[in-house]
Point group: C3
Chain length 155, copies 3
Amino acid sequence: MSDLRDEIEDLYADYAACLDDGELERWPEFFTDDCLYQIVPRENYDRGLPLALLLCESKGMLQDRVAALRRASVYAPRSLRHIVSNTRVAQADGAVIRVRANYVVFQTLLDDVTRVFNAGRYLDALVREAGRLKFRERVCVSDTVVIPGSLVFPI
Amino acid sequence: MSDLRDEIEDLYADYAACLDDGELERWPEFFTDDCLYQIVPRENYDRGLPLALLLCESKGMLQDRVAALRRASVYAPRSLRHIVSNTRVAQADGAVIRVRANYVVFQTLLDDVTRVFNAGRYLDALVREAGRLKFRERVCVSDTVVIPGSLVFPI
Amino acid sequence: MSDLRDEIEDLYADYAACLDDGELERWPEFFTDDCLYQIVPRENYDRGLPLALLLCESKGMLQDRVAALRRASVYAPRSLRHIVSNTRVAQADGAVIRVRANYVVFQTLLDDVTRVFNAGRYLDALVREAGRLKFRERVCVSDTVVIPGSLVFPI
């Protein structure tokens, strides 16, 4: 159990570093080919409403999202910084490992103080692929609905 | 030692999830019948002044607090999100395990950005009851004194 | 590996507690005599520019820094609170252990809400000295450049 926890913590740290370092092209590789990535406002999630801020249902859609951010988006240079806490393995008895954690992402624009960009919880389903843990699902249930700059970055 | 650490991390994650999910009725169950729960401003704590923002000296008082929040308080819908870090077992050689950790709680009101609600440190005394770790004491020493909305929620 | 991780988490928690508790005189003792402590803005770090907000190249310089803060600086009473997350051992196969982590430091001034003081990442090189892990290098790559109050505290 402790080894699995270490492995999960490493995965989460690597995922956060990928986004914090702006290595977006590496981001889809954390997922299985067939996957679900979603950022959903807490209010919608709690009421079972399907509307998401971002929804990708395959690794290809994640790659499209990265390409769109790289090519099309106009946005000011910024730093993102992930803090992940309260990681909890909810279920690990089958092929799928269900994990929950809290996250807060901070954003720093040039010439501005650092602010909370997004806070919420991760609801994850992990599977092992060629010995490595990958996300089959990462659902980001976002407390934050007012997105500074209206920009939907992966979280 | 590593097993104990995992157990403590699980307890803290579960405690945070209880409050973040708004399951207040479950909150007193983290404590022993005879217990101390306190939110005390750092300045008072450092000077040995007894004044606390919230003080409960038994599980019954915790339950009363929950009932008061449910029944009597008028407050806007909000999300709370706990981040806990720097957990440190200070003493574990007797029946009582003393642990210290840093916490930050974020608050999101509808139609507003996410803000820091409260930051500080937990000073805990844990005991084992029927095989499960429980809080005999949780003292929340709060750096934050200006409480947004003046609302005293459990932390 | 798991033992090393626990040891590193303990070191980081103790380091954070030292600064959060204002025990500045204890801070240089976390470093080897010959050491590097640096707070460098992310933009400079990424471009290889040498300019740092704070640079100390020996334990003596760290002690000087503490003395300067104690004697010379005029600043309002404040609380600092460290959150450290996503700790990752990048290399541990020689005498030097390279670790990376994310940090956010929160500041609370009297009669004000709690705000983000500094966010960024630690890039550390640890060595063992008389059985205890010490910092040979701690490079704080700061996302935050606009420092509230312009005050350079150790992070």
